[in-house]
Amino acid sequence: MTEREKYGSRRSRLNRMIRLRQLAQAASVLTTPLAPEDILALFNPVYSARQLRGVVTRVVQETAQSATIFFRPGRGWHSHLAGQWARIGVELDGVRHWRSYSLSAPAGKDPAITVTDVGAVSGTLVRTTRPGDVLFLAPPQGDFVLPEHPRPLLMVTAGSGITPVMSMIRTLVPRRPDADVVLVHSAKTPGDSLFREELAELADQFPNFRLAHWFTGEQGRMDLTSTDQLDELCPDWKERAAYACGPDSFLDDAEALWKRAALTTAAPGSEVAVAGTTGNLMIERFNTTFNLGVGHDGGVVTFETSDREVEADGDTPLLDVGEDAGILMPSGCRMGICHSCLTPLRAGQVRDLRTGEVHGEPGQLIQTCVSAAAGPVNLEL
C-alpha cells in the first residue's frame, strides 16, 4: 500500500465512523433512554453502550490445566502489541469478576488468551468457556513489549508466565529473518509445558530461534540465585535484552541476578517499577505478594457518592471491598501496576498492602487494588 492509499483508506474509515455515529445519534432519538446498542444487543451480544465485550470463537485445550480462548471483540477494542495484556470480565454465579490476561496471539491477529487454572476465575475460564460465550473486556495495555529496534533477545519464563512471551515469539520469529531469540522456559513436566509442540516446530524451522526447556519435576527448581545455570543455558545472556515472566520468587531472583551482574542502569535508591526494566531485563508480574495477616485493623469504608458503608478488615484491598458491596469500582491489573483503579480519598488513611506503609491525605488518589483500610476511610465513589 502506498502512503496515499493508506491515507485514503484511513480517511474512508474515519468517514464511515462519523456516519455510523450520526446514524447512532439519529437512532437514539427513538431508543432513549436506552442507547441503540442496547437494542442491537438483542440480536448480537457484543453490542453494549457501556461495556466492551467479545464473543468467544474457539477454545483450545493446551494442557490439563490450561486452555487458549479466542474471541472476537466488539467496537472499542484496538489491536494489541505482542506482550500486552487485557482485562477480562467473567461471571461467576451471576457476579462479574475481573482479572488480567496476557494476549498470547501474535500482534495483528485475532486476540486470544491462554489461561491456567489456579483459582476461581481462571478455573471457570478454563473449564466452562464455550464458543458463543460473552467475555467482558477492556482494551489491551502494558509496556512489556518488544524493543523498538532489533536486538538479540533472551526470554526467561516459568509456568503460565510464557503467555506474553509466546505472543512476542509468534510475532517475531516467523516474520523476521534477522531475529535472534533464545527462550528458556521452566515448567513442572513436559505435559504441563504450554505451547511445547508449537515451540519445537518453530525451533526446527527457524535457526534464529533457540529453545531450552527446564522441567522442575526432573531437574528441580531453576536456580537463578547464581549465574551458573544461566551461563550454561545461554552463554551470551549478558549481551541480550532479556524478558522474564513467571511466579514472584522466580522474578525476584532474576531481578537480583541481573542487578548483581551490574547491568542495572537504575539510579541508586530508585525503585524498580513492577513491570519495569532492570538494565537489560524487563519483567512482567502476574501477581504481587501482599504483606497480609499481620493483624492490622481495618475500619468502616464509606463510599460517599454511592452512599454505602462497609466494615472492612485490614487485609482486603479496597477494590474488593467496594466490588463486594456492589459499587462499580474502576480497576485494571488489580496488582498495583496500571493505576486504572485510582480513586480520590475523601478522609482517613489506607495501608499499602505491598509495603505496609500507612498513608493518605484528603484528595489524594489511591490505588484501591493494593490499599486496605487503616481505620475509617471515605472514598469519593
Partner: protein
Amino acid sequence: MSVISPSKTTPASTKGSAAGGSRTRPGKLAESGSPTVRPPAAAHLSDEQVAELGRELDAIRDEILAKRGAEDAAYIRRMIKIQRGLEISGRAALLVSKNKAAWVTGTTLLSLAKILENMEIGHNVLHGQWDWMRDPDIHSTTWEWDFVTPSRSWQHTHNDLHHRWTNVVGKDNDVGYNLLRMDEQQPWKPVNLANPLFNAILAPLFEWGIAIYDLELTEYKEGTKSKEALLKDLKALGKKVVTQFTKDYAATPAVAMLTGSGKQALYGTIAANAIRNVWAHAVIFCGHFPEGTDTFTEEMVEGETRGDWYVRQMIGSANISGSKFMHIMTGNLSHQIEHHLFPDLPSSRYAEVAPRVREICQRYGLKYTTGPLIKQVGSSWAKVFKLALPGKTATA
C-alpha cells in the same frame, strides 16, 4: 456511635467484604430501647419481642443474600430482553397503525413495555436490587428509565425519603404527594373537597405528578432545598422531558408518517403513556393507602430500633394478591410489605419470603394487609373520598 442504618441492613457487626454486608449510611436507628411512642398496632410488643422480630427478619435477609446468584441474574436479564422485545415490536406496529389491528397491537405492546420498564425493571434496578451483579448495564448508578422524572431525582425522594420515613406524616411526602389529603392527621382545607377530582386527574398524568413532586418545591419554599439544587434538578428534568417528548410524540409519529400513520402513531404513544400512568398510579396507591395500613407520628419514629423500623414497614404497607403475571406487572410492588422490609433484595425473591413474613406477623400479632387488586384499589379510592371531607374518620 450507637446508630445503625435504616434501610439496607445487616447489623454493624457483620464482617466486611461478604456480599451484601454493606448498608446505606447511618440514619436514625437506635441500637436498643423503643420509640417514644410505639404505634398502637404494635403496642402489645415488648422491646425484647421487637428485637427478636428484627433478628428473625435479618436472618431471612441473610439467607436470601447467601442464595442470590446466577438464577437471579438470569431472571433480570430475561425481563430486560422481554421488555426490549415488546418495546421494539410495539413501536414497529405503531409505524403502520393506520391499520386498526396494528394500532391496537402496537399500543398494547408499548403499554406493556413501558409498565415492565418502570415497574419490574426500573424501580427495582434503581433501588440497587441488582447492583451485586457488578454489571454497569444493570446498575442503580447508571440506569435511566422511561419515565419523565430523571432517575437520580426519583432515587432521592423515593429510596431515601419515602423508604426511610415510610408513612410518617410530615416526613414522608408520599402520604398524599403534597396534593391529596390521605391521612386524618393532615388538617382539612376546603381545597381537599377536590381530592377525588385531583386524584382522577393525577392517574393518567402520574409521571408528571411524580416529576413535579421530585422537584421538592415545598422544600425549596421552606428553605431546606437550595436554589442551586432546584435549578440543577430543573435542568435535568428539562433535558429528560425533551428527549421523552421527542421520542414518543415527534420521532415515532414522524417515522410513521412514511406510511401515512403519523396521527395514529401519536395517539398510540399518548395512549401507551396514559395506560402506564393509570396502572402505576393504581399500584402505587395500593402500597400504603388501603384500609388496614397505618400512618405514624414523628414520636413513633424517635428512638426507633431496627426491629421497630421493620414493624413500621409491615404495618404501614399493603400487598396485592394475584397471579404471577400480576406480580410482575406491578414490579412485585404487590409484595409491598416485603419490598419495604428488604428494599434491596432482588424483586424475584419477594414471593419466596412472603409466606415467612406473613407467619412472623401472625406470631407477633401484627396485621399483614393484603387483598386482590380490585379490592385494594377500591379501598384507596374510598380513602380519597372520605378524606375529602373534614373531620375524623375511623381507620383501624
